[in-house]
Subunit: 624 residues, 2 copies
Amino acid sequence: MQIRDLLFGRPLPTSDERAEHIGPAAGIPVFGLDALSSAAYGPEAALTLLIPLGISGVHFIGPITAAILILLIILYFSYSQTIEAYPHGGGSFTVAGENLGDHAGLLAAAALMIDYVLTAAVGISAGVGALISAAPKLQPHTLAICLVILVLLTVVNMRGVHDTGVVFLVPTYLFLGTLLVVIAIGLFHTVTSHGHPAPVVAPPKLPPAVAAVSLWLLLRVFSSGCTAMTGVEAVSNGVMAFRDPTTKNARRSLTVIIAFLVVLLAGIAALCRFYNVGATDPEGSGYQSVLSQLTSAVMGRGWFYDITIGSILLVLALSANTAFADFPRLTRAIALKGYLPHVFTLRGRRLLYSWGIYVLVALTGGLLILFGGVTDRLIPLYAIGAFMAFTLSQAGMVVHWRKQKGHGSGFRVFVNGLGAVATGLTTVVVLTTKFVEGAWVTALLIPCLILLMVAVHRHYRRVSQETTCPEPLQITNINPPIVIIPMDRWSRISAKALRFAMSISNDLQIVHVDSPDTDHGAEELALQWTDKILTPMRKAGLPDPKFIRLQSPYRTILMPVLDYILAEERSRPDRHIAVLVPELVVRHWWEALLHNQRSSLLKLLLLVRGSQRIVVINIPWYQE
Amino acid sequence: MQIRDLLFGRPLPTSDERAEHIGPAAGIPVFGLDALSSAAYGPEAALTLLIPLGISGVHFIGPITAAILILLIILYFSYSQTIEAYPHGGGSFTVAGENLGDHAGLLAAAALMIDYVLTAAVGISAGVGALISAAPKLQPHTLAICLVILVLLTVVNMRGVHDTGVVFLVPTYLFLGTLLVVIAIGLFHTVTSHGHPAPVVAPPKLPPAVAAVSLWLLLRVFSSGCTAMTGVEAVSNGVMAFRDPTTKNARRSLTVIIAFLVVLLAGIAALCRFYNVGATDPEGSGYQSVLSQLTSAVMGRGWFYDITIGSILLVLALSANTAFADFPRLTRAIALKGYLPHVFTLRGRRLLYSWGIYVLVALTGGLLILFGGVTDRLIPLYAIGAFMAFTLSQAGMVVHWRKQKGHGSGFRVFVNGLGAVATGLTTVVVLTTKFVEGAWVTALLIPCLILLMVAVHRHYRRVSQETTCPEPLQITNINPPIVIIPMDRWSRISAKALRFAMSISNDLQIVHVDSPDTDHGAEELALQWTDKILTPMRKAGLPDPKFIRLQSPYRTILMPVLDYILAEERSRPDRHIAVLVPELVVRHWWEALLHNQRSSLLKLLLLVRGSQRIVVINIPWYQE
């Protein structure tokens, strides 16, 4: 218990709920890491595709980043509105489900669940990938390092949302601070040098162009760059985690996250343009990441470079945390509607939806093991889910505002409609450009997940229909049960069972299975029956209990008893049959090996093969 | 079920018991394989130790074999008497226990159990070893082949004693027939050539002497040769497996087994002497077993040689069967006295003591895996147990006959006394000569096993003392129990539970744990309580049940309920507390994942933490 408390913190009472809530400053590390860390790989992914265009490729990064930023700002406004409209958490599942119908909600839910698992896996593997390009001799341990980080993230997150915010605050602000300094100084040099800054460390020369530009290439560049946008919906999903005033704090967090992301993306694009920095071949020997090139061009290779690169590695790995913060809230929302097991709605010892975390960790670990912890293999599966969910959420918001018809709803419909069209188009682009490489896996998993959720829902609905009881308690026709007592010999254990049986009914049946291996003879049994049971009961004026001796040609004890009970149940359709199972409880677990497990087996068999009118009464007898 | 029947045979009713019994002919493969197969490795083991003496070593095999045969014949007479005196099976455990006291019996039991496991492991690994010296490329698969043979032996033995005898009849008689032919023809040539027969294939020349003879060496040779005697007590242990007249049939089997063994050992020793056959270095490149040398010297290397060697391999591997036949009978005898779990006394579907077989297979498999299936590593642990048991059994018989004081008991005391002294001396020799090589492991295991058996016995005795009930049923002071019903909401499931509760008691307590995660509000609950339960009960003139709402600051549902039940039990020392656990039983196992397992957990917690006065009533509710 001590170690558990040390690792995960003491259990929190429900009354501490408010103290667990976070402010806008902690909201950034908790919900924003996925979005912010994309600054480290979004531009990189786009520039990598532009390598074949040589020096002219860098010129395209400006317009493409502009397009991405416009989409990002549209998303910002529409999610900001979503937060206002759904102060109890407006994930895509909720918004799409409430406005477009259950099926759209399930589609969004499945897409988002898959995407969150991928966020966790991609974030961890990208961080480890960056670490390995800095220290290549760690390469053989890739998967092990990934799993260690997964465990660390799990432990921190199991401590609760509040502690997570505190732990991740420093790396997040270090990452933001250093990158902003690089961008500021770089732009300052650009301005003072009239657009031709001199790099401190010159970036590698860009290779000559080997291909001409095409629309298909630009679309692929755009869709790669769009991976920078995943994680934007995280805040709207987690509004309830913020302290009062919740919506205001959540919107503040979202604003800060998007503002930082816009500045980072724009600044990186501008510096790439002015310092002539392009991506290098990730498979080549001279590979260097874009941010590493930029930082050394602007600041040189001193301690500042080391801190910047270090904080980038850390934030990439921690970006998985967004999944930890949001996946359990998503599964809880789905479970509340009855499409996932109810266990996802229960809060564990640290006021978290613990089962969501367990499932996320299991799936992420499985994915990391399956793909060996290599980011490149995971990336093609990624982002489709997020954009699908974005689209459904925006479309849902359009319907939502049209229903409201209040002041300013026209503008809101326009903003969300624009978002829906933009993200919808992006979904199509992303799915088309990545389909063969792996997006088909996601496209296949989504309907499977939906089918699963529908099956769960159908089960719950059926159980609910069967068990819901509109009428009050019926008091007529209440008879004591027929009590069946299996007995191997006369002992204190059977005496206790018999006394309890007499206290609840007068209709007793004692069942004995003749066994050549354990019985001490029929005479002894008959003697015990008369002397110990029948005579005292007759003296007390009680009705005779039935004594039933069963034969067992194949020596099993349980089967004849079970068959007798089932036959008795069939022949007495008006009565309850209470089977009394006496059980010796030993003092140490190993002592249980010395006794037959017939009591446990009988209980199990009766549960599995029993019927509505068979009740099991377990009378434990504790060894002194 | 079909496959199981095909593999292990259909279940046998107890009435078929007599048909499972075997005659003396089948008794030889079932109980005699261990003893007979030792002809293949006993002389070999002795001759290997004689290698350093060169040609003169072969001259010692005569006197040493004579000593071994004398000991064997003494054992034969004394075990023959044991069978007569203990017609229900007179293993060393029974004979030593009844005549020398429980501790001597336990010593014999522990020694024999260890030796039987070693018999199984050594038999299989020796057979596989012989196979591998014939086909060396199988070497890397040694352990796998050992385990496959173990599984095959298990399957055959699980079919019952009768089928085992039938299956093993052919290899046994093939082994005896071919070896007897070799001995007969060899001796014929010896006689016709006046003691100097010409070998068909000349055996390898014996190496020059490198050491002088010493008493210590001869003692070691003797103790190695004595391994040929293990398995002699098997028949006396298994008398009950023979058909009527049991003792007569058992003695016949024993006589035939010992007669064959004497002829084989004497014949092999004689042929070695006259054909100048010694052992070859088992580590050397030109290794050839003694029986292979003898057979090729007498018969040449034709088809007869192949059949002979093949049947030797087979019988070596099958010699493990003696352990399968006797170990379960031994553990049954021990369990009947309460020194091992009672489960060893129960007969399974084929009228076998199945659990003895399971444990033997598990231990043998473990031993084979631990020692990699290599015979040489196992041999030093072997035979000590058997000789210890022999000695105790003989000593026990001496006491037995002295108690009888009947006709001829003086002679019987002499025979068994001679046996006791001879086997006692042999035990000391075996233990001393093999102690460092591994016999210490056995010497250490025996007391551990005895301690275990004593602990088991103590447990059974305590339980028996606590549960034995000399007085008849007490009918005074029988009150209906207080019934506690945990209830989360009003449903058909809780309605059914409540109706059953009303049928057995008027003293009802309904317990609800307030849960912010699942409750639909306190008002709804209060409404349900009044409308659905209280009002109808009052109308029927029944006493009000108690309604208890429990708070749970840490959101667990079970702990507050459990604490309440335990507190209620303490405050009402005169009453039984019946806890009513309603349980939804789903139609498919996977559907259970969709529901909380609180019912199962509460049942488990109440069993573990409950007390004599707490009874659990499980009311299953079956989904339609």
